[in-house]
Every structure is written in structure tokens, then in C-alpha cells.
Symmetry: C2
């Protein structure tokens, strides 16, 4: 198994991700996506969009400013509560996240405690500053980045710490524009910013990151997809419920079993859809994925139900990459209170007024890109280089065209012709330099699924060789049938 340092080095070497502002020594918690990483990220986003926006015709995407009004975060509670506990040394200036610091020393999870509790744990265990041995004092730090707008009497805005608030603030307007139908889904793929005290683990914990979220607003008396549950009730889900915690087990349970355990049908229906996205579209192998139920202490008080989506990463183990959160009317009520604008909607048939509830499907895009690379990475002993087994629909280049030699103009011309045709339909790369074995190796490292070689025989038989990245098996295909053949393989 590879280490995460090996993966990070590989990602930089191939142009997936690397530290931002690197010629200036980098900026802790900030990363850039290179030419391959950007393609991978866009492909993931495209897949996410088509799947989740495809769930309902009344799900729509919006794109909003990253800097928002102070009152947005007063209403959401971020101004007051979006804090991390920090242990600081007044003598030498050392800072660390108190919960992480304690977890490391006590070898157990230490979360959700008060400042006083953290302070007590530090004192009890006689933990001093790791740099100068002085006393550590615990305080809280708000993780939002304020931004001063204007000149003179400046106004304070904030870089949003999550994309979620934008759809909540936009809800009432979009609801009216979209002719007052529920459920209404507002999706957003965008950046969020958090002043993490200790950014770490490459792109897993950054100060600037991308989220893909779908906020479904619905009438709690008619929850989304309620009629569809019957269709999925026997499907099995990979779950770690609270009762499985002690043994850290992943248990297969049917949708019906989860409903019997107390979860609402609409919630379980969305677990099923999410799992379908991972297994059928991202091609994550079933033993690498689970839904992890949060306890009342762990989840935010306003989440009635909260499961993390977790992927089993090399070195890091089970890692949160997203979550399904039933947030009730917490968010819209908060905005109603602070903005003094009604968030209520009217059920015309009965005259009933209510504040819609929210089901949030939340995905960390950078964490998914990391996970896809991590799960696809194989240091092949046989080939003596890295093979990146990325799924066809997300890998940066689906195919590549190689003329076998570059000193035979007819072969080069035919290769060029095949390439020009294929790139109209697929992400395709053309490469004519170095021996073909070297080109296969470069392609495997970039995750290119099929290499198409034009050789001397091609001039006679009008056929080319298709090589599969994973099996290395080769197949001869007529050029006239190449496009159809590749279209079948693109899944």
C-alpha cells in the first residue's frame, strides 16, 4: 500500500494537484489543480451534476458570490459558533487545535467539548507547549475570514465557510421564480473558506476548498420521493450504525431495515441514491464505502439525522467525504428571524402555511478527487511504474492516439486523422514521441483508459490496435468502427 506522501508526490509530478504559490514557498492549506487535476475535477463535477440534478426536474443549479453579508452568518450561527478550540502558548507563540493535540496524546477521539473541558484535559494530563514546555491556554477561534468592503465606513463581509447558506438565502426568490413547487432542489458547486488552525493531509483539509451540495426544500408532510421508496426497499446499504461502533463494523442492511430502525423513508431513499452514485458512477468498490451514523453528541443539534459518507483511504482509513443531513427548518427559520422576511410557503389546497424543511446532500469535491486518485493508484510491480485505474468517465483523458513511428509520414498522417476524428467525441490525447512502450507507460500513469496505435499494418487493413490500461490486452479494430467501439467502452 502506498503512503499519502507518495500519492502527493505523484500528484505533483503528473500535474494533478500541488501546493499553491509554490515558487514563494507555498501557502499552508492552499493547493492548485494542474492540467490533469483540472480535467479530473471537471469530469467529477459533470458526473455529479448529471446524477443529482437528474433526480428531479425541479432541481436546479445556482452560482453565487463567495463573499456574503454579515447577517447571513448571524442567522446561520456561524458568527457565534463556527469556532475551533485552540491551545496557545503565550510564551513562544505556538498554536495547535486543542482537540487534535489531545487526540494525538491521549490516543482517542476528543471532540465536541467546551473550552474548560479541553483546558482541564490538558492540565490533568500535564501537557505543556511542545516547543518551550510552558503552559498551554485553550481559547476559541472563529474560522471565518472577514473581508472589509468599501472605503471610509467599511462594511464587513465574510468569505463563506460553506456553500450551503447561499441556497438558503436564495430560496424564497427561486421558489417564486420557479412557480412555487416543492420539493425544490438548489444545487451549488463552489468554493468555501475556513481559517483552519492546522491545515494538513494534502488536499483533505484545506483553507480553501470546493463543495458540491444539493439542498432539497420540501414540505415535511410530503417529503421528496416518498412514493419511490417501495422501489428500493430491498436494496442493500453499507452502514456503520452507532450500534456497530464498538467493533467498527460495516454491516449490509436493506433500506427497509434502516426504516425499521427509525429512519424516515425519504431519508433512506436518498442514501440509496447516493450509494448508487458511488458504486455505479464513480465505480468505487463496495468494500471501500460506507454510511457512518453520527451520534447525538457528534452531530449538530439542528440535524435530525446525519450520516457521513466515508471512503476507506490508504493510510488515513475511513475518511469523511460528504454527508446526508436532515436539517429540518433550522436554516430557513434562522434567516426568517434575522432578515424579517417570511420564509413560509402556502399550500394552496388547504391554506396551510409552513417553513419548508431541508435535506442536504453535501460532498467535498477536493476530498473526492483525492479519494479517486488514492483508490486508483497502483504501483505495479509487473510494469514497474504507477498505473492509475481511474474510471473511464472521470479520468482526464479517455483515450490516446499513437502513430507507431514518427518517421513514416503515412502513419503519422493516419494517426493525426484518427486523432482529429476521436477528439470531437472523447477527451483524447495525441503522442508521437518516444518508443511506444514508453508512451504506454506515460498513458498508464495519467490514467488514460485506451491507447490506440496506428502501425504499418494500419495502412493496409485500415485497422488500429486498442490497448486496455487495466488488462494491457490489445484488440484490433477497424478504423471505421472505432468510434462506435469506444462509445460502448465509455461507461
Amino acid at each position: 500500500m502506498h503512503t499519502s506522501l507518495e500519492l502527493a508526490a505523484f500528484c505533483k509530478k503528473k500535474g494533478f494537484m500541488y501546493p499553491s504559490s509554490e515558487i514563494y514557498g507555498g501557502l499552508s492549506g492552499f493547493y492548485d489543480y494542474g492540467h490533469l487535476g483540472t480535467k479530473l475535477k471537471h469530469n467529477f463535477e459533470h458526473l455529479w451534476r448529471s446524477f443529482f440534478l437528474g433526480l428531479n426536474d425541479n432541481f436546479h443549479e445556482i452560482e453565487t458570490a463567495n463573499i456574503a453579508h454579515e447577517n447571513v452568518f448571524k442567522a446561520s450561527g456561524h458568527l457565534q459558533n463556527f469556532t475551533d478550540p485552540v491551545a496557545s502558548c503565550k510564551k513562544c507563540g505556538f498554536h495547535v487545535r486543542a482537540d487534535h493535540f489531545l487526540a494525538e496524546h491521549l490516543k482517542r477521539r476528543v471532540e465536541g467539548k467546551t473550552t474548560d473541558e479541553y483546558q482541564e484535559l490538558i492540565t490533568q494530563n500535564k501537557l505543556g507547549c511542545p516547543q518551550c514546555k510552558s503552559v498551554l491556554t485553550v481559547s476559541v477561534l472563529n474560522m471565518m475570514f472577514p473581508v472589509k468592503l468599501g472605503v471610509g465606513k467599511v462594511q464587513t463581509g465574510y468569505l463563506r465557510p460553506e456553500t450551503a447558506q447561499s441556497p438558503y438565502v436564495n430560496f424564497k426568490l427561486q421558489y417564486e421564480l420557479l412557480r412555487k413547487k416543492l420539493p425544490l432542489g438548489l444545487a451549488l458547486i463552489g468554493r468555501a473558506y475556513r481559517n483552519e488552525i492546522s491545515p494538513r493531509n494534502f488536499t483533505l483539509r484545506q483553507r480553501e476548498f470546493v463543495q458540491a451540495e444539493l439542498q432539497i426544500f420540501f414540505d415535511p408532510q410530503h417529503p421528496p420521493s416518498e412514493s419511490d421508496f417501495a422501489l428500493v426497499k430491498d436494496q442493500k446499504l453499507k452502514t456503520t450504525l452507532i450500534l456497530d461502533r464498538e467493533q467498527n463494523k460495516v454491516v449490509e442492511r436493506t433500506a427497509q431495515q434502516l426504516v425499521d430502525s427509525g429512519l424516515p423513508e425519504f431519508y433512506v431513499y436518498h442514501l440509496i441514491k447516493i450509494q448508487e452514485f458511488y458504486f455505479q458512477h464513480l465505480k468505487i468498490s463496495p468494500e471501500k464505502f460506507r454510511f457512518y451514523q453520527l451520534s447525538d453528541q457528534e452531530k449538530a443539534f439542528y440535524n435530525k439525522y446525519h450520516f457521513d459518507l466515508e471512503i476507506d483511504l490508504a493510510e488515513h482509513g475511513w475518511t469523511e467525504v460528504g454527508g446526508l443531513h436532515y436539517r429540518t427548518d433550522h436554516d430557513l427559520s434562522g434567516h426568517q428571524k434575522i432578515s424579517q422576511q417570511s420564509m413560509e410557503v402556502l399550500e394552496e389546497a388547504t391554506g396551510r402555511k409552513f417553513i419548508p424543511h431541508v435535506l442536504e446532500l453535501s460532498f467535498g469535491v477536493d476530498r473526492h478527487i483525492y479519494a479517486l486518485l488514492d483508490l486508483s493508484y497502483e504501483m505495479s510491480k509487473e510494469r514497474e511504474y504507477v498505473v492509475l485505474h481511474l474510471p473511464a468517465k472521470v479520468t482526464p483523458y479517455f483515450c490516446a492516439v499513437f502513430p507507431l513511428v514518427k518517421n513514416k509520414p503515412e502513419i503519422v498522417a493516419l494517426g493525426e486523422q484518427v486523432y482529429q476524428d476521436l477528439k470531437q467525441h472523447f477527451s483524447c490525447l495525441y503522442d508521437e514521441t518516444a518508443a511506444v512502450g514508453r508512451r504506454y507507460a506515460r498513458a498508464d500513469e495519467q490514467g488514460i483508459k485506451y491507447c490506440i496505435t496506428v502501425d504499418f499494418d494500419s495502412l493496409q487493413d485500415h485497422a488500429v490496435t486498442i490497448r486496455d490500461r487495466d488488462s494491457t490486452q490489445q484488440e484490433r479494430v477497424k478504423i471505421s468502427q472505432l468510434k462506435e467501439k469506444l462509445a460502448l467502452l465509455f461507461s
Copy 2:
């Protein structure tokens, strides 16, 4: 002709763009894109990508952090020079951009002057504070937003004021990853942030906005596309050169004529390609577009050649939406100096070392979205509502399917079937509520190019009616041929 206020009201009413954080009274200079605006924006970005990245196989897209290291902006000069002149009243706190304030009062352009010169103009013309008549003092304001990172000894980063610096900072690494070939193009679609003193004109001058830029790095001895100039030399360009200024004329000149006037071939070649993008892909009518040459006083000192791309907007007139900038080695030299990392590359054949030059193709995405809406907007007297003549490839929905009536289940079922098939291939909307005339009107307002109606006859003749948004003409098409017919119309 419509006013820009009418356009802004329409954009909000239909869900294109509207003020951000609006339930909290909005935030000056920040806008959100609603469900239709987001689709329009993404379609524009997709078109931009395919066209400009398609110019050369060695042009690649990257995606980078929005917050960057302080030294990035020390090297670029933004820390020192990215300032606006501001006229302030010490008594009442009033602030305004000095150049805009003077231009308004003197009825002429007043740009590129020093603080002292602005002060003198204000004094000479006896201009006082518009609020309290007191003295106005001119100073400079840096337009970047600083962000404090970390805790304790904080580090200052900056929200980037332009996307351009990211490709420059990434150049050397990407050049090496991409096997040291020039020209190398690094494209980036992303956000930029400027603390505008007076944000105004809806989405034309925001504090947070999106740019689409292509930075082409090249060997000045072998400029990009040098061999392609011969192919385009007789093509005509819409230009306003410095010599046309006095009469504010737009003159058609051939590429060769521009070269004869002193511009390099590679530069003019890219003017041609840019114009092709506007005319053939964005379908901008030729009389609404021009290249506007900047004088030495107007352009930045490091730009050897600088033409603005301008679109003629209702009410605003000719408006800058982008630019083509030959920046020489200014940027890479600056980063080499401050980072102490060599930006030189080696020409293997000769051993010659040099710092590549940069040709920048820069586009303001929000301004293009505004321009597309502005040019497409028609308050139709005949139809008595707004028709949005957006081109097929950028309009949010290309087509819509309407069952003529919703109380005839066979018609609804057939409509649903046609819709499910079409939405696999085109952006397509389904609408079964209200009379068909009302649905046509709603579709026209959203810019839907073709409305497809399933009626009683459809059950017999297996055909539907296609209605063209612009001509309102209708055509009967077999359902079996519908997809091919629409594919032909999608251009």
C-alpha cells in the same frame, strides 16, 4: 431600446442574475446567478473552453486557489500599483472615485493621472463634497482584499485581483510537466476580487467577478501560429485604431493591413481568432463588436500591444468585455526577481536561454453574460412580452416539450416520452401547465429556441410541431426524426 434598469429587472424576474444577500438588503458589488443565469454562464464557459483550448493541443486548463501569497502581488506590482484614486470628504465621510467624479463633472475622460493632478483638477474646477460642500482630498486606495491566515503570527494573503497571476506562478512547473514545449497555453476560468470604490452598472462592475483567460507562453523568436497568418491575411477585422478615435469610427481592415500598420502577425492572427469566436460562436452581429486600440497613455507600460474587445450595449454604448495583451516577459521576469526561481527555458538545439513572452487573451465572463442578454433582449410589440433571442448554443434551454392539454393521458404520456428522449441529448424543459400560448410566451422570455408541442394529431401521425422562437414559424416533424432535426438546428 431598453434601459439597463429594465434589463436588470428582467434578469431578476426570470432568474438570471440578482443582487447577492438580497434578503439582508444586498451587498454592493455582489450578484448571484439564478437557475437560468447559471445555465447561460456555464454554456458560455463551455463554448469558450472548446474554442480557445481547441486552438492548440498544448493549451491546457488549470484551476487554482483564489487566495495567494503576498509575494505573488509584490512581484506582479499589485501591492504597490493596483490602486484607484479616491476623493474623500474628511467632514462627512463621503467617498468617490476621483476619475469618475471628475469625468462626470467635466464631461470628458479623465484617466491615468497622478494624485496631485486629480487634486489640482478638483481645486481648479472648484468641486466640493456633493453632500456637505466641504473640501475633497484625493488619495489612493489599494483595491486588493487582504486576508489574515492562521492564528497568532498571522500571514497575510490576498484574494487575487485577476486570474492572470496564477498561470504565471504555475508556468515553470507546468512547462516541465508538459515536456517543455512552447507555445504553452494555460487557461483559467475563475473568480477575481477588487475593492471597487463605486461598484455600479449591475454586473458590469462588481467587487467579485469571473474571468476566463488564456495565457500563451512563447518563444519571441518563434511566436505562436506564425505559420498560420498566411491563411487569414485577407480576413477583415472591425477596428477602432487610435487614428479613428476623433470620429469614433469602426473601420474594417484586413489582417494584412493591420500588420502593415505595425502589429506583429501572431498578434493579428489572434485578433482574427477572437473575432471568429464572437461572430461564429457567440453570434454577435458584426456591427456590435469592435477591437479598440489603446494609446500608450491608456495601456499598462508593460503591454507592448493592447486592444480592448468591445461590445456596443444598449444605454452604455461601447463597453470593454475583454482584451488581447502582449505582455512580453514582464510577468515572468517579475516573478523570477522576487521568487529567485529561474523562469528561463532552454532551446535545446542552440543552447539559447530566454524568458518566454506572454500573449494574454482575457475575457470578463459576467460582462459577456450581461452583453449576451442585452443584445438578445427584445420587448416585442407584436407579442407584447420580452423575447430573448439568445443563440442556440448558449441559451439556458435549447428546447421545451409541451403536451397540448394535460387532461388527455395519452398526450401527456407521449409528451413525457418525447421529453425523456430529448433530454438525453439537449438541454430541455417540460411544461404542461397553462394554455399553450402562455407556455410559448414563458419559453420566449427564457430564450428557449424551439418549443415542441404534442397534440391530438400526434397520436395518429406520430409527429409533433416545432415552433421557432425567433420567427414563430411552426413545422410538423415525425417523432422518429425529431432528434436528427434538432441536432441540425443546434448551431
